[in-house]
Amino acid sequence: MDIEQIEIAEFLKRVAPFDALPGEEIEQLARQVDIAYFKAESSILMAEQPLSDLYIVRSGVVETFRRTGELYNRLSEGNFFAEQGLLRGRKAHFPAVSKSDTLLYLLPADVFDRLFETYEHFADYMEISEVERRQTRVVSASSGSDHELMTSPVASLLQRKLVMVSERLPVSQVAQRMSEHSVSSVLVVDSEQNPQALLGILTDRDIRNRLVAQRLPYSTPASDIMTTDLFTVAHDDYVFDAMLLMLRHNVHHLPVVNNGVPVGVIAISDLVQHEAKSSLYVVSSIFRQNSVAELAKLKADVRASFVRMVQQDANSHMIGSAMALIGRSFKQRLLELAEEQLGPPPIPYCFIALGSMAREEQLIVTDQDNAMILDDRYNEAEHGAYFLALAQFVCDGLDACGYPYCKGGIMATNNKWRQPRQVWHRYFQQWIKEPSAEGLLHSSIFFDVEGVWGEQHWVSALKREISGLAKTHIRFLASMVRNALLRTPPLGFFQDFIMETDGRQNKTLNIKRRGTAPAADLIRVHALASGCMQSNSFQRLKYLQKNAVLPKGKAEDLRDAYELIALTRIRHQALAIEQGEEPDNNVAPEQLSDFERRNLKRAFQVLSNAQKYLKFKYASIQ
């Protein structure tokens, strides 16, 4: 029988230009490669060495050098090298060295020649990529492991010229400007009042969809068809953040600003190269799966992404938002599949996420916490069955994909949490106006809420109402304070045990219950008390700092402490996954280094002081 090299074929199918070859050609290629492993810092090719293969990086990082010893290119998974040498003279032009442990697939020269002669696009790709490389020569632009995404600022991607137009410029002239500068988007500014103020963005696609397809006259002003709901990134944000933002909101262009002043635009095409190689690749694969069973198979990929991000020193915010984005994408795809199966919804609805996913602080060990807001026309007899089935489909699907059912029953399958808009508004009014500490204990999770699918603007309206009401209802805040103080950090933290406030000693510490959760609770209370609309703890802290809600320096201290505790928890879970165990939240001080223990102790002290401050601030109304 013909041997089937599944892994090699699957890999080649993901890698340009092989991805465009016919399936049977790829199967055949998979049977023709050789494989070689190089440990970090080994020589792979020497200059002038006779060449017999095209080198494809299966995993790891390889660097090639000029004769002068200067770095020529850095290649990672899915990149290839030695094609110039193969095309001309069959000798290596650039020496190559493995930067990390590297596995290479080697495609024999005669096979390479055959592909080059048979497939035009393959030949083009080999030649064009060479030209392109000669032009850019920028190492950071051609490579793209997570590590680089997490450490390169967005500004490093800004190559194209920034083109700005006045809001009143007719689209025909906008299009001319775009061709002149060969850009696919322009920023629209208010030329009269304040030329620095960004009003919107206009893209190729907008002109096609909103002008040409709608048969509007070419004299239509730019402001009529531009996109005004803008997401922007700061020039010193990381590329990874930009990628998250684009995937999260499904936008293809992001204006880049420096202190609010537009300095450029990055397009999704600047990032696709990176995306294929990053942990976020799993997001696009989620949307390619066509059944719950297929989605469930991605569970291992999600865990691998998580571990990889930890290994590459991502901060807790990056990991939390990436995992939240992945969780969100699972929900969205499940809802798409559910709607395909059950038919379109009879009335509008919004699927919402609660708790850590809404705060973008999701990790691996996480229950599904979700709910559904229905249109006010909801009628039990007529629509009840549809939405119950929808909720059931999604919650079962999430469970299969590694997000177990919520033990507290906070799921859209629960009738209480699948209600019309007016009922939801009533819930929140009740919680805030007639609070009881016990009642709020179980519902504080609802104060971290984000729309996932459907009428997401309903959630914004709900959040506006909450932020208006909460800050003026003292008894509500007092109850939230009381709950936020129920869980305390441990007092002492020693070599191999934890000292509790009452003198008891424990071997392990539940770092969620004693660390991240009380910290998030505490930050939430301050946020609600000061009318902050953000959900993410770090963004809430930024708001608290900016509006001087906390004493000087305290928001920063709390941020650092929270980051440290969260990272300890993340590393603990990643380690468990690497060792093939189920990740949990129980950290034993014994597993930590002296350095980690010292810092963790300090972080718990900051948290403890912050709890004392919260108690003191609301002492009068307790």
Binding site: I3, Q32, I35, Y37, T102, Q579
Partner: protein
Amino acid sequence: MFYLPKENLALAKAEPDLVVQNWPDFFARQHKQAQHPLLKRYYQSKVPKPNTPIGEVELLAMDMETTGLNAKVDGIVSIAVVPFTLARIKVSQARQWLLKPRYQLTEASIKIHRLTHSEVEAAQDITDILPELLALLAGRVAVVHYRAIERPFLHETLLDRLGEGFHFPLFDTMAIEAQFHRKKLSWLKRLKGSRPEVSIRLADSRRRYHLPDYRPHHAATDALACAELLQAQIAHHYSSRLPIGKLLL
């Protein structure tokens, strides 16, 4: 590769594992004693001397899928091999055979190995493929992950078919891994079970060398995975000059 739950490893232990000190002598003796011409020819092949540098030796990664763990009662479902050296894994020369096991396949093992019933029916008898398998093994050192599967199963199967057993030199990537990653804890600590031992299963071992994750339970993939692992282990812990006698089992 049969994926063993950690605690079951002991169950699969082979019959008294024959320990060969001097392979060239062993081959010479077997060549005289063997009855079947195929085996006679195999033992006539050159077996590398123990002081040969590993970089100069031809290798053959091998993986087997079986109906169970006990070589006495279970059978071989498929065998995959891939010839390689420390420098190159020759995927183009890889071979895989589906075999008729001696005993009926259970539904469960068909599922584990993602076989279809028609594939099982199209399978060959081991005697059909033996000439090719032995020709590939001749002059090469076999490489397996966990020797207590491949060796006893080949031995028992041939004993059953040809009336003669079979023994061949190999490197065991799991034994190599155990050497470097199992002995870090003192016996006292292990006794107390304070920390989990490092896993030396194929997938976990590969990760330590930053090899990509491959999906398991496919003999061709597992043989490949094992070959890559040996390349990585030698690169990290030894060098291509290592005399093979140090690792030969």
